[in-house]
Every structure is written in structure tokens, then in C-alpha cells.
């Protein structure tokens, strides 16, 4: 059995984590280590296993096999003391709708020793939430802000966000992010964010993981990732022919007459251009462009789909 590392450095950890539903693996042999103080973005297409992973980490569902922990406590045996240090915001999370926000705050207050009244007032002002309105009468945006509010005001050490910005208008999204940033300023806060809104995540995250078909395909710091991935455009001479095989780090290669485009996932400012000249014949011009996290994500996912044929790639429709 794979054991979890015993270190205080890690806020979140998973080893050989598996979740199987009937005949389908939702999460498969997932290893994950998130350091304290890190903001980690878990990206992946729909159905990749992001939410399942988060739920296993939060102790909401039990893994089929493997182990995971948050703040050193196994997720399958979390007690109240750990949940006092964890915030969880999910797009689908239900709220006690019959309550007003004031009632909810009053109700929650005793359970969080770190409840910060000043921070609460600050967030209430920023979010512009009505205290006397029933939660069921609130708009989607207000409800999401409420979820942020009640997950931030006790300064959790770890915040787990599952699609927190989905379907929110830009203003509310900004407000939520501002709240997150305020929270992250104090102490050694750790966040795990699963989202499709990569631009937003990019502003926050310092590490990123890409999960696909239940497998963690990439796990890296954002800066490092952005540093090593470049969009490459190469112009070759007219008579040149491409070699039969290209380096594995060149992803999503496309050719159009004399132009070749690909993503170099092992970019090295000192060596990459030399490598291109060595492999491709008649190179006339090479351009390297940095990529946004979103572009890297799309490129990697598309490439991966091409390689494994996609989730349903083996199905052929006659």
C-alpha cells in the first residue's frame, strides 16, 4: 500500500488514489502533492475526474483505493477540528435556503474559533450581500458570493473550490477573486481550485495540474510550465521534407505549405532553436512565443485526445 508522506509541508496529498463507479474509473492512480501556501489549479475537461478528486480529498466520498489527506488528516477520517480549518466552495453545493444570511452567519459562528468579524464586515461590504434576505431568494451570483463569504471568514488554512466561477458574471467573479486574494494575503494559505475559467485561475494559481480521464497528466508550477512551453512557428524552404518522426516534446504539430507550427513542451532558450535546426531541414525562420495557461491547457488536452483517441475514441459510428 502506498503511504502518505509524513511532512508538515504538504497541505494536500493523494497517493495512488482511485475511484471506480461500476465499470468506469473516475479517478485512476492519482498522485498529488500540494505544498502549504500554494494555490493549485486543477484543470481538466468535463468528466475528467476533478470534482471526484476534490470530493475524495474533502472526505465527502470514499476512494475505492489509495489514500489522501488534507492538513495531515486522512480524508476518510476527518474530524471537526480539521473541518474548522478547511473551506469548501462548490458550484453545486446546497445552502440552507430557508435561512437568511444573518441567520446562517449566526448559526455558523460558534463552530469556527478563527471567525474574523472584521474580515466578515469587510467581505460583506465588498460583496454587498443583504443580511436579511433568505438564501433561496438570492440570485445565483449572490449565492456564490455567500458561499465564498461563509468559507473565507474563518480564515481556513485550506480552501477547496470546485468550479467556483462557473456561470458568474465578470463583476461578481472579480468580487469573489478579490475575496480570495484578501484571504490568501494572511498567513500561509493553501487553495485547490478546480475550474474551467483558466484566465481567472491563472491570476491566482502558482501550481497547476491537468487531469484527464481520471489521470493526472501534468502537475507543475505555473511559472515553470509557462517557461517550458512555447508556441513555435518554423518556416522551412520549399523543397524541404519533414522527417518521419519528431521529438516527443513537440505537440500538436501542424504544417501548412512551408509553415510548421507546434508547441514545444521542453523549451530551452539555449537549446531549442539548435534542436529545430538539427531536426528540420531548410529552416529559414524560427519564432518562439510564450503561451498563456489557457493556451497551454488547450494544446495539451487536444494533443492528449489525439494520442489516446479521446474518451470515446474507440467508438466508431458506421
Amino acid at each position: 500500500m502506498t503511504k502518505l508522506a509524513e511532512t508538515d509541508q504538504l497541505a494536500i496529498e493523494a497517493r495512488a488514489l482511485n475511484k471506480r463507479y461500476k465499470d468506469q474509473d473516475a479517478v485512476s492512480d492519482l498522485d498529488l502533492s500540494i505544498n502549504r501556501g500554494s494555490i493549485y489549479a486543477l484543470l481538466g475537461p468535463n468528466g475528467a475526474g476533478k470534482t471526484t478528486t476534490l470530493k475524495m480529498l474533502m472526505g465527502i466520498i470514499a476512494p475505492t483505493s489509495g489514500q489522501c489527506s488534507v492538513l495531515g488528516q486522512s480524508s476518510t477520517r476527518m474530524d471537526s477540528s480539521v473541518y474548522q480549518k478547511i473551506g469548501y466552495v462548490s458550484e453545486n453545493q446546497k445552502l440552507p435556503d430557508w435561512m437568511t444570511l444573518e441567520q446562517l452567519l449566526r448559526f455558523l459562528r460558534p463552530y469556527y474559533p478563527n471567525w474574523d468579524k472584521d474580515f466578515l464586515n469587510k467581505l460583506l461590504t465588498e460583496y454587498d450581500l443583504p443580511l436579511d434576505k433568505k438564501l433561496k431568494a438570492m440570485s445565483r451570483g449572490m449565492r456564490m458570493k455567500t458561499k465564498f463569504l461563509i468559507s473565507l471568514i474563518y480564515y481556513p488554512d485550506v480552501l477547496v473550490l470546485d468550479e467556483p466561477f462557473s456561470g458568474l458574471d465578470p463583476v461578481i467573479r472579480e468580487e469573489c477573486i478579490d475575496g480570495l486574494l484578501d484571504w490568501s494575503q494572511v498567513g500561509n494559505r493553501t487553495a485547490l481550485i478546480s475550474s474551467h475559467d483558466i484566465e481567472d485561475v491563472e491570476r491566482l494559481a502558482d501550481s497547476v495540474g491537468i487531469i484527464e480521464a481520471g489521470k493526472l497528466e501534468l502537475d507543475e508550477e505555473v511559472d515553470s510550465l509557462k517557461e517550458r512551453v512555447r508556441r513555435v512557428s518554423v518556416v522551412i524552404s520549399e523543397n524541404a521534407t519533414l522527417p518521419p518522426s519528431l521529438p516527443s516534446g513537440w505537440k500538436n504539430t501542424r504544417t501548412n505549405l512551408r509553415n510548421i507550427e507546434f508547441f514545444d513542451t521542453h523549451f530551452d532558450p539555449d537549446k531549442s532553436e539548435q534542436l529545430i535546426h538539427a531536426i528540420l531541414p531548410g529552416v529559414e525562420r524560427v519564432t518562439f512565443e510564450p503561451m498563456s495557461l489557457r493556451e497551454i491547457y488547450v494544446a495539451l488536452v487536444k494533443q492528449n485526445k489525439k494520442e489516446i483517441g479521446g474518451k470515446y475514441g474507440s467508438q466508431i459510428h458506421n
Binding site: 470530493k55 474533502m58 472526505g59 465527502i60 466520498i61 474530524d79 471537526s80 477540528s81 473541518y83 474548522q84 478547511i86 469548501y88 462548490s90 453545486n92 453545493q93 446546497k94 445552502l95 440552507p96 430557508w98 435561512m99 448559526f107 455558523l108 460558534p110 463552530y111 469556527y112 477547496v160
Partner: protein, 576 residues
């Protein structure tokens, strides 16, 4: 445990359901008023309900059903609001853990749906003069309401919303009711499900433990796999099918129930019937064992009242003669607290009626013989039946019987309320007079003095009653001896057990007669039966109870008695 959280959660739940709970409390209060009304002008819930007939019945049943539905909705709402089942539930990632939520939910449900009705029941009992016996409502209510709440809690914990909980529960209750009704209507008598108290208790205990275990398991581990749910259901329902086959509960089937040893002792206690119901007669936890100085032998209680209710006669007769109440209708009534005075569950009355039926040689009520046999043995297993006498109807006895009938059927009380016409004649034709003599062990030392039909002579209690097999009419006479030694009887058309509020009526209707009045009566049908019962540990003289050769047995007992008397006389004379 975190009491702060539990209290906070309970308060939150109560606040969330405050409107529904207010309605529930109003319903409880209404039920309380009807059950326990202490004012003489208002003769009591039972009479009120009886007098307004079907409307009262409808009211009783609909109140109970409404209370059940409210309870269902509120408990389901509580469960779903904090949704222990849902992985998107609010609380799943909060410091409140499952065991705290579980405890809080049970506490909320207990407070609203066990403690609140128990409070009213205790009030009811205290007003009814039950004294400390009233405390018996506590275990009974925990048991009774727990059996209702546990399935609701469990179903709510595995369903995602209130609507589905409601649908499942209502469908389950409905289907069960249908099953019972159809089994009753369609099956032959021998196959009808007539659970004995033992059997019922076993099943309910298994169900309670099963539901409790499933609910706790489900809530703590949030088990949502379909296979596990199905397994749960299997665990619940398997005992229903298996228990009668795997155990010795033979008495679940009527026609196999002649074994007297299998009968259960269900004695009655002299508390006003509606209170008795509340307190625990006919419930799992009974009160009688703790009150050794009370009259526990099942003597007739307030049968005349019921008998005089005209339109209700057939109905109550039918109910009474069922050994155990035909569910689900009666169960609803019973649980609602709207038990009528001398209602179908008045087992004391049933005992004597059934006893008489069992010895009715004309077999007019043949259909009930099995039940009668069982009932008699049930109640009298603590006492030894020492003699059964069918006395030749001498003129005096006939007159006595007929006079009682005349009084009862012709009294003002009767005429004021019911005009039954021809039935009176019929009733008169079929009247029987019964006398039961019961000898008690020395520990038995008190008989309530306000029970006019009971005469205590030394260690023997003699009960007189008049029996009408068609309408279960019973009347009462306590013999009194005037200065010349003539025996006179009081006929009480009121209820001796209906408490002080009935005194006025009691006096109004009390009739005094002696043996010399001359009223014509049908010789052939009128019989006087004397049953002597003597306590003898927990054994009963079985041969006297066998149904097959009643007349033979009666003759045997008669000769036995005769020879005993002769022996006694011989011994007496030799002693002299």
C-alpha cells in the same frame, strides 16, 4: 458529542418548522380535549364522537392521518435541509460531523413528535385519575412513536428530497394497509393475519432495530450504493415473512391457535378506557404488573354505554369479536387516542362476551368461537377455571334478565338518542344472563367499590351481566339484600368506569328491581351461565376451554363440581 451544536441545530430545526409544528400542536391539543375532557356537560370524547357518528370517526381518523402527514413532512424536511445523504450538502464539509447531525435530528424529532404528545398524554392520564401509572405512557410512546419515526428518518436519509420521502412513506403505509385489508377480506379465516401481541412485538422490535441500525449506518457512512439499500430493505422485510415460519408463534394463524398455552395474558385495569389506552393497556409496555393491589382480572367495564348506542352496535360488536383488532382501521383509531369508551379494544368486555360465546351451545356466534376460546384463555390464564355452570332458567332468573333488558332498552338515555325499533325485540329474544364467579389468590384484596356489577364474597368475586349475542348488550346488576333477605339488583345504564363525571347519568339510570316482577320471555333462548374462575398460578384448566365438546366439558365440570360439593358436604358432616 458537541451539545452546543446539537442544541443549536435542534433550535434551528424547530424554528424552520415552526408553522407546521404549531399546526401539529393544535392538533395535539384538539386530541387532548377530546380524549380528556373533564366537564360533566360534555360527556367526553368517546360519547361525543359516537354521537356524531361517522363525522366523529372521520374527524378522528383524518386528524390522525393529518398528524402523521405533518410529522412525515417535518421530519423529512429536517433531514433533507441538512441533507445527510447528499454529497453536495451544506454540512458535509463543515465542522458538524455526521454523529452530531444524527443526534440533532433524532433530538428534534423526539422533542416534537415523542415528547410533545407524551406531555399531552400524561396530562390526559392525570386528569383521568391514573396517578403515577401515567408514567407508563413514556416507554409506550417512545416505542410507539419510535416505530413511526425510525422508518421516516431512514427513508429521508436515503432520499434526496422531501417529496420522494413522502411518496415512499405514503406508498409503504398505503400498500401495507391494502395488504392487511385485502388479506382480511379475501383470505379465509384460517389464513388471516391476526398477530398476537407476542408476534407483533417481535416483528416490531426487529423492524425498530433494523431501521435504527440502517438509519445510523446510512447517516454515519452516507452509504448510497443501490445494492446496500436493497439489502437494507431485505433486512427489514425478511422477518415479516420468516418469523411466523421460523418461530413458535403459532397463534398468528387463527385456526392453529387452539393451543391455550400460546395465549398471552392481557388483563385489564380499571381506568377509564381512553386513559387506559393512553397508559398502556393494549400496548407493549403494560401497567398491570406494577400494580399488584389493583383488580386485574378482566371484568366488564362500561359495556352498557356502548350497548346503548344503537347505530354503533354492529360495528362495535364486530370489532369486539375480532380477537385482535382488524387493522388498519382500528389501529388508526387506537393510535389517534380517540378510543371510544368501551371501544373495540376494550378487552375486558370482550373477554366476558367471548367467554359466553364460547359456551353458547346454540352456536349463534359460531364464527367467533376460535377467537372466544383464545380470548378467554388469554385473560384467564392467570386464573383457574373451576366451574362453568349453565343453570336452568328458573322463573326468577328469567324475570331478572328480562327486566334488565326492558330497563336498558327503554331507559331515557336510550330513547333520547336512538330509536332502534325492532331491534329491541330481537335483542330481548336473544338475551342471556351470565354470572361469572372468580376466586382470587389471597394477594388479591381489593375490588373497586364503585363497580356495581361486581360482588365480592370472601375470596370470590361474582359478576353479573346480561348478554345479548346480537348486539353485545350487557347490563349489570349488583345484588343487594334488603332486610327480608330478598336479593335486589341495580341496573346501571351508565358507565361504572367512566369516572365521576358520569355520576349524574349513573344515578338517573340506576334501576332497582327484585325477582318477583313478572315479564314474559322466550324460554328457549334465555340461559343463565355461571363461570367460576380461580387463580392457579399461570395455568388454566384446559379441558374446560376446549371448544369441540363444550357441552360435554360443561357437563364434566358440572359433575366435578357436584361431586366436590358432595365431598364438601360429606367432609362437613363427618367433621360434625
Amino acid at each position: 458529542m458537541d451539545p452546543k451544536f446539537i442544541i443549536s441545530n435542534v433550535l434551528k430545526d424547530l424554528y424552520a418548522a415552526r408553522f407546521a409544528l404549531a399546526i401539529y400542536l393544535v392538533m395535539l391539543s384538539i386530541r387532548f380535549v377530546f380524549v380528556s375532557n373533564p366537564f360533566p356537560a360534555f360527556v367526553g370524547p368517546n360519547h361525543f364522537l359516537e354521537n356524531i357518528g361517522n363525522l366523529g370517526l372521520f374527524f378522528a381518523v383524518s386528524t390522525y392521518v393529518s398528524m402523521f402527514m405533518l410529522m412525515l413532512a417535518v421530519v423529512a424536511g429536517w433531514m433533507e435541509s441538512d441533507n445527510l445523504n447528499d454529497d453536495e450538502a451544506f454540512w458535509v464539509t463543515r465542522p458538524a460531523r455526521e454523529k452530531h447531525l444524527l443526534t440533532a435530528k433524532i433530538a428534534s424529532a423526539t422533542l416534537a413528535f415523542v415528547i410533545a404528545p407524551t406531555y399531552f398524554d400524561i396530562l390526559t392520564g392525570l386528569i383521568g385519575g391514573a396517578g403515577l401509572d401515567v408514567l407508563w405512557v413514556i416507554p409506550n410512546n417512545i416505542w410507539g412513536y419510535g416505530l413511526i419515526l425510525l422508518p421516516v428518518l431512514f427513508v429521508a436519509s436515503i432520499t434526496p428530497d422531501v417529496a420522494r420521502t413522502m411518496i415512499i412513506m405514503v406508498a409503504t403505509v398505503g400498500l401495507t394497509a391494502l395488504w392487511i385489508v385485502f388479506s382480511w377480506l379475501l383470505m379465509t379465516e384460517g389464513l388471516r393475519l391476526q398477530p398476537s401481541p407476542n408476534w407483533e412485538f417481535t416483528i416490531k422490535l426487529i423492524l425498530a432495530i433494523g431501521f435504527a441500525a440502517a438509519f445510523v449506518f446510512q447517516s454515519l457512512f452516507r452509504e448510497r450504493r443501490k445494492a446496500v439499500k436493497i439489502a437494507f430493505l431485505g433486512v427489514f422485510f425478511a422477518p415479516l415473512i420468516a418469523i411466523p415460519r421460523l418461530t413458535n408463534h403459532q397463534d398468528v394463524i387463527l385456526n392453529e391457535a387452539n393451543d391455550l398455552e400460546s395465549a398471552t395474558l392481557v388483563p385489564a385495569q380499571y381506568v377509564r378506557s381512553s386513559y387506559r389506552n393512553v397508559l398502556g393497556i393494549h400496548r407493549i409496555f403494560r401497567i398491570e404488573d406494577s400494580i399488584p393491589d389493583r383488580v386485574l382480572v378482566p371484568l366488564k367495564t362500561d359495556s352498557v354505554l356502548t350497548s346503548d348506542r344503537g347505530g354503533r352496535q354492529e360495528r362495535s360488536t364486530n370489532w369486539r369479536h375480532a380477537l385482535w383488532s382488524p387493522a388498519p382501521f382500528l389501529t388508526i383509531l387506537e393510535n389517534s387516542g380517540y378510543i371510544m369508551a368501551n371501544a373495540p379494544t376494550d378487552q375486558a368486555d370482550q373477554t366476558f362476551r367471548s367467554a359466553l360465546l364460547a359456551f353458547n351451545k346454540d352456536n349463534e356466534m359460531k364464527a367467533f368461537h376460535d377467537g372466544a376460546s383464545l380470548t378467554l384463555s388469554s385473560y384467564f390464564s392467570e386464573y383457574q377455571l373451576v366451574s362453568v355452570k349453565e343453570l336452568p332458567l328458573e322463573r326468577k332468573n328469567k324475570l331478572f334478565a328480562n327486566k334488565i333488558l326492558s330497563v336498558v332498552s327503554g331507559n331515557r338515555f336510550y330513547n333520547d338518542r336512538i330509536d332502534e325499533g325492532p331491534k329491541i325485540g330481537l335483542r330481548r329474544q336473544l338475551a342471556k344472563v351470565g354470572v361469572v364467579e372468580t376466586r382470587f389468590a389471597s394477594s388479591f384484596n381489593s375490588v373497586r367499590s364503585d363497580v356495581p356489577e361486581v360482588e365480592r364474597i370472601g375470596n370470590t368475586i361474582r359478576v353479573y351481566f346480561l348478554y345479548d349475542p346480537i348486539n353485545s348488550l350487557m347490563s349489570v346488576g349488583r345484588p343487594q339484600f334488603d332486610s327480608s333477605g330478598e336479593r335486589k339488583f341495580h341496573v346501571d345504564a351508565g358507565s361504572p368506569f367512566f369516572g365521576p363525571n358520569m355520576k349524574r347519568r349513573h344515578k338517573l339510570l340506576t334501576f332497582e328491581m327484585d325477582h318477583d316482577e313478572n315479564v314474559a320471555i322466550d324460554r328457549k333462548r334465555l340461559k343463565l351461565i355461571v363461570i367460576d374462575v380461580k387463580k392457579s398460578g399461570n395455568r388454566v384448566l384446559q379441558h374446560a376451554m376446549e371448544l369441540g365438546d363444550l357441552s360435554e366439558q360443561i357437563s364434566a365440570i358440572r359433575s366435578h363440581q357436584l361431586s366436590s360439593e358432595q365431598n364438601d358436604r360429606r367432609e362437613a358432616s363427618s367433621a360434625e
